[in-house]
């Protein structure tokens, strides 16, 4: 198994700042926008973006929710392992709001497909955008593309892209793992 660093901590930080700025360009004061972190790995990125927006760019009162997609996945009983559910925590209504889905890696697009179904349980959003830190292009199974991307990666299928976050993994970095 070999491992290659795609982004180090500094590069991750630069990308995060760029993503935050791009969000401000489109959503200004976030008065009608909510952020939704996709469980389990998207929540670290979502929290990071939120705190960047609040501390560095002085955007106030950003609403952030977590969405678990386990029960909406299309691979139930097709997967060998049962997938562990996580907490959904959305204490606001998404009806007529602009929703930004936040996830760390966009690969086949199936998680986002599930998230699109799941979010309907919380109302009908005005529009939904997708922010993803790593976009693995060429590996999509569904016609889903990100609106904001940290870095585009051309990885082949037996390679794995791992995004590490300081809060969870001890440091910020993105690795390409070849098994």
């Amino acid at each position: 198994m070999s491992q290659k660093v795609l982004l180090n901590a500094t590069e991750v930080n630069i990308a995060l700042h760029r993503l935050a700025c791009q969000l401000i360009e489109n959503h200004d004061t976030f008065s009608n926008t909510v952020l939704i972190g996709i469980q389990p790995r998207g929540i670290f990125l979502a929290e990071r973006i939120k705190s960047l927006l609040e501390t560095e760019y002085k955007v106030k009162n950003i609403e952030l929710g977590y969405l678990d997609i386990t029960f909406y996945r299309d691979d139930f009983r097709r997967n060998d392992k049962l997938i562990e559910a996580n907490r959904t925590n959305i204490d606001f209504i998404v009806e007529d709001k602009k929703v930004v889905f936040i996830d760390d890696v966009l690969y086949t697009g199936r998680s986002i497909r599930a998230a699109l179904t799941a979010i309907q349980s919380f109302g009908r959003p005005l529009e939904i955008e997708l922010l993803t830190f790593i976009d693995r292009r060429f590996s999509r199974h569904l016609p889903i593309q990100p609106d904001y991307r940290g870095r585009q990666v051309d990885a082949i299928n037996n390679e794995k892209v791992k995004v590490c976050w300081k809060e969870n993994d001890g440091l910020d970095a993105v690795y390409l793992i070849n098994s």
Partner: protein
């Protein structure tokens, strides 16, 4: 994530503590789901479930049906009163006929103890026991323990007394197994005629004085007197039963602590407990009903994940 150690839920006796914890954790997520404005998830979209009720039931059947529908399963209902069982068909034939119509799971209530176990040896579908005679009623016990966990934080180390008709109660037996597996201390309390001989071999204490039992416990689970299962008189009159084993405000106020009151329903108001007790803040009877749907969703979801897709 670990998965259940069993393919069927036939009784609490056959599952492990880890299974129970897994069901509880999954139920936590489903409880969040059923409190949303849109209470449905598509997990069991391609699963068909038959609810076979060979014995009357309102709450359990409704609860199972709601759980199945909230998971987007297809549901067929069957009750023995309007079926070929009356014409002399055997259980295995009845169920095999239903399974030929491509049913993946069976939820069954049956008046004979062991009906679920028997069926699991003869048919190829996941079976959930929704009550078999005076044997087990596993989902009720799971939701009871889950409700205790929700109210008191944990089940381990809590003192739970089960009061009333222990002899005819499948709820009592399943509850004893579940509570013991989760580390609670259990006592049973009731008229001697309604306490099975050798019940202490299950590791439970026996008490015939309600006041003493209540003083000892954190939770009192008041069972219904099952008149329909009594072929002889086990106590002289309802009035006498109520005087000795009925719960009222006066007894509750005489205790030096606030205990949690449970009842699996349907309540005979004025027999097992007075109305002011049933409607008091200490009673979590309606929480039990709400948790019942979440628990059943969890059980269905976890068992459905073990069904082989390629079998049918």
């Amino acid at each position: 994530m670990s998965e259940l150690s069993v393919k069927h839920l036939l009784g609490i006796k056959y599952i492990t503590e880890a299974d129970i914890q897994l069901i509880f954790e999954t139920a936590d997520h489903f409880k969040e789901v059923i409190n949303r404005s849109i209470k449905k998830v598509p997990s069991l979209r391609d699963i068909t479930i038959a609810n076979l009720f060979f014995e009357n039931s309102t709450r359990t059947r409704l609860s199972f049906e709601l759980a199945e529908k909230r998971l987007s399963a297809d549901v067929v209902n069957f009750s023995s009163s309007s079926s070929s069982v009356k014409k002399g068909e055997t259980l295995v034939d009845t169920v095999n006929n239903i399974l030929s119509m491509k049913v993946d799971m069976v939820v069954m209530r049956h008046p004979n103890p062991g009906a679920g176990v028997f069926l699991s040896k003869h048919i190829n579908a996941s079976i959930i026991n929704a009550g078999d005679g005076a044997h087990e009623h596993p989902t009720q016990a799971l939701l009871d323990s889950y409700s205790i966990r929700e109210r008191l934080g944990d089940v381990a180390g809590k003192n739970v007394v089960i009061v009333g008709d222990i002899l005819h109660s499948r709820v009592a037996l399943s509850n004893i197994f579940a509570l013991k597996k989760l580390g609670a201390n259990v006592k049973v309390c009731g008229p001697k005629t309604l306490l099975p001989k050798f019940i202490d071999s299950l590791g439970v204490g026996v008490e015939t004085n309600l006041q003493k039992a209540l003083q000892w416990c954190d939770v009192a689970n008041m069972l219904r007197v099952q008149k329909e299962r009594m072929d002889i008189s086990y106590f002289p009159t309802n009035r006498e039963y109520t005087q000795q084993f009925g719960l009222n405000k006066k007894i509750l106020n005489s205790l030096d602590k606030e205990i949690v009151i449970m009842h699996p329903g349907p309540i005979n108001r004025g027999v097992e407990m007075t109305s002011d007790v049933a409607d008091s803040k200490q009673a979590i009877i309606l929480n039990q009903v709400e948790n019942g749907v979440a628990i059943r969703m969890a059980v269905l979801y976890l068992l459905a994940s073990k069904i082989d897709r390629n079998e049918n």
